[in-house]
Symmetry: C2
Subunit: 249 residues, 2 copies
């Protein structure tokens, strides 16, 4: 049984301010929790209901186990139909990757992506294509937002995400910077080389001009038909796919 | 002012059964409605609130205009925050495309896609890449479902979607059939030629065996990293992109 103040404290982790004050976020469902357990993330507490078989998790970490009622589960869950188990996990403090970590490979840079579903999808795509780092502008949606965690389907446990002011970060790195922009070179004619950063911008406004100023190659996905735009998750997937085909050669 | 029975009749269009009984579906928001007005679709009635400037629509079709209260708008809308205008549009009866309509180009085939957001995204992707036809198995989510209409962002007005039993349809066509499958040829090594059908399967179960039996080329998007799966909308985009780069040569 959880006290009212415990419930409020856990529920508050649905909000960015309280996540960063407490240093924790929530992951729901055993499948995702197992993926976090098999990662450098540190699981603090697992809240589960009687019907849940804790052996499913098979966690070797030292963890607080806390059996709760279905009623309390519903209170602390951010889902309409909560799963039987929720984990409180420590937010890691990844150091901002430097040139050493980023050279010889590709990483994603997000400039103001707002929709949590889009960020979750982008994390899942990065994980599929073996991209290990995503660097976000400070106004990008928080990667520990419950909807981001949900949409990333466990991939958040494998992709390192950092926030930083992009112009200074990009200027210091001196790696090729590809920007998804409207009037760039055709993506199908672009030689991505063997390393670099791919910048994707905000859903409505694209890449900010201060960030665009640091793009070394503007790249465009050509439109054949008439849809007004492509979703930023889809655009990310197309860039990752082109890089994969490119580095394969 | 709408009567209770009018409200019920309009609201019932949120359900497939009543859409197909009445032969109408709903489109919300002036941007999407304009796209349907500039298409072969026939707009029956436009419901709008006083604050709405009907000139925005600039519709040349003969249409019933019906001013309603904000309260009634909220009742007939499927959105949490309804826009000022909703159109009732006739469901067209596109004839199933035959070999003549489909040869020399690429079309999509969906076998049991269930999530309305995914179908809407797929329609938008098809429209971006200039794909004109999507053929769906009868158990694929209805393309006039409000969430599909919403997610397609007007692209539904330009892409023709038909339902049919896929095995008989595919067998009769005698066009190349590419299937998104797990153990196929690497998509980056696949020569798609200049025409064919691309089959994408259900979110959990993939392509049914009866349909898979008619696939002439199994194609796989290689996984470089560790995500368990790619969303069906993302997979569709990657296939459309490869076809575009392929036919460009």
């Amino acid at each position: 049984m959880l006290s009212k103040s415990q419930i409020n404290s856990i529920k508050s982790l649905q909000h960015k301010k309280f996540r960063h004050e407490q240093g924790f976020f929530l992951v729901e469902g055993s499948k995702s929790i197992v993926e976090f357990a098999n990662s450098p993330y540190e699981i603090d507490t697992v809240y589960y209901t009687t019907t849940f078989d804790s052996k499913v998790l098979n966690l070797s970490q030292k963890i607080n186990w806390c059996e709760i009622s279905v009623n309390d589960l519903e209170k602390i869950s951010s889902l309409k139909t909560p799963q039987e188990v929720i984990a409180k996990i420590r937010i890691p403090q990844w150091p901002l990757p430097g040139k050493k970590e980023l050279e010889g490979k590709f990483s994603l840079v997000l400039d103001g992506v707002q929709d949590p579903g889009n960020l979750g999808t982008i994390i899942r795509i990065a994980d599929w294509f073996g991209i290990g780092h995503i660097i976000c502008s400070p106004d990008t949606v928080d990667s520990y937002n419950p909807k981001v965690v949900q949409a990333s389907m466990g991939s958040l446990s494998r992709v390192r995400i950092c926030d930083t002011e992009l112009p200074a970060f990009l200027a210091a790195l001196k790696l090729p910077v590809f920007g998804a922009l409207l009037d760039g070179a055709n993506i199908y004619d672009t030689d991505f080389g063997h390393e670099g950063l791919i910048i994707l911008g905000n859903e409505g406004n694209g890449i900010r001009s201060e960030v665009e100023a640091l793009v070394s190659r503007a790249v465009t996905i050509p439109r054949i038909g008439r849809a007004e735009s492509l979703n930023v998750g889809i655009a990310t997937a197309l860039f990752c796919s082109e890089i994969t085909r490119n580095t394969k050669k």
